[in-house]
């Protein structure tokens, strides 16, 4: 097919330079990973078509001379034929390909967290001041026996007889979501590792193996085994605090992944244990897991390889029948189930999947927790909820709906400068996050952003403490699954039923 020299697709944004303010320092040229700016002899020239509104240029323009504006040129308004739909058609008619982008869905589905309100104490029970009283957030992830067996020593002192399954101790109920080396830069991973260690929480390698530089952070790392099995070997399995089997991802349930060969440099090749320059393709299913009993075998194969010393997590995307699926996963022996809602992020996914497949984490989580309780197996595994946890409020609501902890991915990247432009797949991230270009990666200082991540999680933790205090409880386990403290607004009876909460006013 011949490529038309004209495209119907106009640039989405305009990168406007105020030439009166501009001092021609060319910092914008240097900072833009997309090649928007060039120097035209006496002034900066913008190629608007390349702009993705990632915000890097104006952030670093010393004169405040740059503004990024939405292109005012209209595509004729039509509530049915929105301009995005037409642009997609033009793009596909030009390329014949599947539309791919990074980050979570851009569709405006109902965000259930925004329709749930929290409770607080008045008169009949006192609220607790978190500045004066202890307020406990410590959380343990892993299988819990349903009861404890005790024996008595010679002084008649009770001692623990039950051998406790391995647990991950979190000082606050947050973990960093799985983002692989390859999809993000090593510096971005390092920032999370530093923050996780300082916070007493954990990060997750994603499916790209564990870089040597991160090995010392093992106690704060979950290593992931995905369908591509990149970088998986015995020492890898034993180098983290837990192992996660990735079945699915909220942004792209049911499909695999593809890290193009041009991103596979020497370092990634070594970490992933694949040749330099080859595509790293994760198949849609694990080719040794075609059913639940196969998952059980893999769980126990990994438990054998790690001497039953590491909790095994299984990550799944929230899909229609998620409650039954998770019940099966728990019965297959998983110690932790990580459920990723449909608005979770990704390095690259087809838009058709990202925007149309899966269900909201709030509904999935509520149903999973309820189902496991009905079956009397809620203690058998911890639940991590993920898929666009945007604030401490989302985290609190997720925990009250039944999650043991929440995972944050996109929010962590936003800390590092990400403006959710959704172009992670291109590898040109101007912030040095989702790129392997050395000149871009270099600008992401792990220590600087490690500290900012630390600040964010600390701030959110303080906010959780504030809410716990207002609710009159001083320990996170008294909030976990306590849906009585939640009320819905602007929700239908069915939605309330699925969430297991009452409407506000009741």
């Amino acid at each position: 097919m011949t490529k038309s020299s004209f495209s119907n697709i106009q640039s989405e944004y305009l990168a406007l330079v105020d030439h009166n303010k501009c001092v021609r320092c060319k910092r914008c040229i240097q900072n833009c990973g997309w090649g928007v700016y060039s120097f035209g002899g006496d002034r900066i020239i913008s190629d608007h078509n390349k702009c993705v509104a990632c915000g890097r240029c104006y952030t670093y323009c010393p004169e405040g001379a740059i503004s990024i504006v939405k292109n005012p040129t209209v595509v004729r308004e039509n509530a049915n034929w929105k301009d995005g739909l037409m642009k997609d058609i033009w793009r596909q008619s030009e390329t014949g390909g599947i539309l791919i982008s990074g980050m979570g869905t851009t569709f405006k589905y109902k965000k259930y967290f925004d329709h749930v309100l929290l409770d607080a104490c008045q008169v009949t029970n006192p609220s607790i001041d978190p500045l004066r009283e202890p307020m406990e957030l410590r959380t343990y992830l892993g299988k819990k026996p349903s009861k404890l067996d005790i024996e008595f020593d010679k002084n008649d002192e009770p001692i623990l007889k039950t051998k406790m399954p391995p647990q991950i101790e979190l000082q606050t109920p947050f973990v960093f979501g799985a983002m692989s080396y390859g999809s993000i830069s090593l510096n971005a991973q390092k920032a999370m590792a530093l923050a996780a260690r300082a916070l007493g929480i954990i990060m997750n390698t994603g499916e790209g193996g564990l870089h040597d530089d991160l090995v010392p952070f093992g106690k704060n790392i979950i290593v992931q085994v995905a369908s591509g099995r990149f970088g998986v070997h015995r020492d890898y399995l034993n180098s983290g605090i837990a192992v996660e089997i990735k079945i699915g991802q909220g942004a792209k349930p049911g499909i695999g992944g593809h890290l193009p060969g041009e991103k596979i440099g020497v370092d990634i090749s070594k970490t992933r244990m694949i040749p330099v320059g080859t595509d790293a393709i994760s198949p849609a299913p694990h080719h040794d897991i075609y059913s639940i009993e196969d998952l059980r075998q893999l769980i126990f194969a990994i438990k054998e390889a790690t001497d039953y010393e590491k909790p095994i997590s299984v990550k799944v995307a929230a899909v229609h029948n998620i409650a039954a699926i998770v019940s099966g996963i728990v019965r297959a022996g998983a110690d932790i189930v990580y459920i990723d809602g449909y608005s979770g992020g990704t390095g690259a996914a087809p838009n058709i999947i990202k925007n149309h497949v899966g269900i909201p984490i709030e509904l999935a989580l509520a149903q999973v927790d309820e189902r496991l309780r009905n079956e009397g197996i809620r203690n058998e595994a911890s639940i991590i909820a993920a898929g666009s946890i945007r604030s401490s409020a989302d985290a609190i609501k997720a925990i009250a709906l039944g999650a043991d902890a929440v995972a944050i991915g996109t929010a962590a990247l936003v800390v590092m400068g990400c403006h959710v432009c959704g172009k992670c797949n291109t590898g040109n991230c101007s912030w040095g996050i989702t790129t392997q270009r050395p000149e871009l990666v270099r600008r992401l200082d792990p220590e600087v952003y490690g500290e900012k991540l630390y600040n964010l999680i600390s701030a959110w933790s303080h906010e959780i403490q504030e809410v716990l205090g207002a609710m009159g409880v001083n320990s996170i386990e008294s909030l976990r699954g306590s849906r009585e403290r939640l009320r819905g607004v602007e929700l239908t009876d069915t939605e309330l039923k699925v969430l297991g909460i009452k409407h506000a006013g009741f």
Binding site: C121, T124, N125, P126, I128, E133, P134, E136, R138, Y140, K144, P145, S146, K147, L148, D149, I150, D153, E157, P158, I159, L160, T162, M164, Q167, R373, G376, R378, N379, M471, G472, V473, N474, S475, E477, S478, L479, R480, G481, S482, R483, E484, R485, K502, F506
Partner: protein
Amino acid sequence: MLKLKNEFSLERDISGCGLCGIINSKKIKTNGSDIKKAISIEHDRGNGLGGGFAVYGNYPDYAELYAFHIMYDNLSAKKDVEEYLKNNFIIEKEEPIPTFKTSKIYDHPYLHRYFIKPKSDRQDKLFHELGDDDFVVNSVMLINQNYNGAYVFSSGKNMGAFKGVGYPEDIADFYKLEEIEGYMWTAHNRFPTNTPGWWGGAHPFTLLDWSVVHNGEISSYGINKRYLEMYKYNLSLKTDTEVITYILDLLIRKHGLPIRLAVTVLASPFYHNIDKMDKNKKELLIALRQIYGSALLNGPFAIVFSYSNGMIAMNDRIKLRPLIAATMGHFTYVASEEAAIRAVCPSPDSVWSPKAGEPVMVEFEEPMLQKGGLVSL
């Protein structure tokens, strides 16, 4: 028709309260006049919408039988429940609970008691082997849930609960407690905020030999309830007291935890204290929190729970409600207010305010009193 069950609030009942407990560790019996006097001092802690007592050692002649106290709001409910009892239990004796009409308790349900034991050839044996205690628990839950107009408010051996709508001193007169003798007494004065005239909602709440009187609002009620439901408890009353009783039943009777550990589940020590303990104790207490975190009673409470071997009184982990204890010889007193104790025991040997989360535990035939929870662990 009188309300026996919780049909008021959709989710649960909230109340403030006053409480008292008297125990003689040598099992020397006293009549109900002391406990009545003590709780009447705490008159203002209630609002006349609920008062009650539990007494142990009051049915020595039927000590091996389960004493069911049942309230009915109509005779057809009585007929239905009695048919169930006849089918499944040997009924040694049944009679109306003796009451004394007072002008202050002007309206009350039928109050009947049964001394019974489960039949060895009862029908459920076809399906499963339940112990007598478990069967009694199931029966209590069945009646309270499924039989309209009937409510079992006491089901232990050689003990009984006497409660109703009114101030506790009037309830004491109504049930003629001065004629009843026991070696352990608890009392409760209730201040409900949203459930008027509810006979079943008065304390104590009992199950088998357990009885609980409680002042507080469990802010963690939501998760406590869901946790218990996982173990098939039916929380039909929707009160905090019910939750406490069932948690104790689960921990002590079903899971076999020693009582001194069970109380550390209800008001668990803080991690910053646990972390400083020696290795074995730390391991044990962390495991208890990991496993029983959902059973932690969070929020303000003072509770007195009694069982066949003794009494335990305790506060929540940061002591958000009052609780005072005192000893005098073999007597131990606990109350919301010191004045209540001094009304019946003007100069006790010792009086103290138990620390947050540290239980006062008294067991029979072991006159040594264990003060504070963790020292005894």
